[in-house]
Symmetry: C2
Subunit: 170 residues, 2 copies
DNA sequence: GTCTATAAATTGATAGAC
DNA sequence: GTCTATCAATTTATAGAC
């Protein structure tokens, strides 16, 4: 999707349908023919990642061994970021987007389930901060120019290594 | 500054001068009397942090012992986040803001100096990713609702602990 | 310094021809 | 399906009275 690139560049609020239409080389009304509203377009951009996240959660939640569960989750989350470097930054960047996505009950539920699994039962303040840092760090590193040149596989392994250091169970 | 709270809530692009004026209880023209443009207002909001960062850099850069230098820098950066939880999220959240701040040569320079010190000489890909994760994690954790309830001093220590785990020198 | 009023441009969104 | 034309609302920003 072309809209995603613009969202990543200028933020969702900073991207007008006119800009999207211009870059697509079509008229603004053409965009409105496919998406009823701007919010619908945003949701369409986000949807594939939401579904992937749902699959990952369904796979991780039944795992009873805590260490293995976290490991599966971390691997899956890193893969999601690698497969869509731009998207993750968009969803975590603009506070306005966070509010809009928070109104989507499915995505909201997924976010809470991910955090619930990472936090574990009865999380300490220490773990809360570690999970928070991991969450932000993972999502925004995907588009950080500082690591933009790294091949996918290298970035994958380094993100995993960082996550393990940050989230090492006490 | 009242504008900061709104920026943190809705993003910079998502906050109009009308909203700012309304919350301040004054007319829009009154805001324009103090700040020539919206960009000038944004820069004014950011400026105190820029100056603090400059002081921190001036203190850290002359330190010759590498371990001590990083330690001073981490402590200072965490303090900056604690002292302005909202601001750091604003500056790192909206991609549009990042672009605007990137056009400010002073802030741009400060950012590069911080990263340069954290990366150290001839940084490995591994270190680049770790620094990137730390950077994003530190800045966005300041406003994460998950840690919003923590007292400043607790958050301070936990952020430092996370930073040290993430950035432990090889 | 603060206000009302307004300008000029852009926004999200719609109507209707082809 | 894509276009031109247009709507009402909102945006940044300015002019000028008090």
């Amino acid at each position: 999707m072309t809209a995603l690139a613009l969202f990543a560049e200028n933020g969702v609020h900073g991207t007008s349908l006119q800009q999207i239409a211009d870059r697509l080389g079509v008229a603004k009304a053409t965009v409105y023919h496919q998406f009823a509203t701007k919010d619908a377009l945003i949701e369409a951009v986000v949807q594939p990642a939401v579904e992937s996240l749902g699959v990952l959660l369904a796979a991780a939640e039944p795992i009873t061994d805590r260490g293995e569960q976290v490991e599966v989750l971390l691997n899956g989350l890193v893969d999601l970021v690698i497969n869509g470097r731009e998207l993750s930054a968009v969803t975590h960047g603009d506070p306005g987007v966070a509010a809009l996505l928070g109104s989507n009950p499915i995505l909201r539920g997924h976010g809470e389930r991910v955090l619930g699994l990472l936090l574990g039962p009865d999380p300490s303040p220490s773990r809360r901060v570690a999970v928070s840092m991991f969450n932000a760090g993972l999502m925004l590193s995907g588009t950080d120019p500082m690591v933009a040149g790294l091949p996918d596989e290298d970035l994958r392994q380094e993100l995993l290594a960082g996550a393990r250091r940050l989230l090492a169970e006490d």
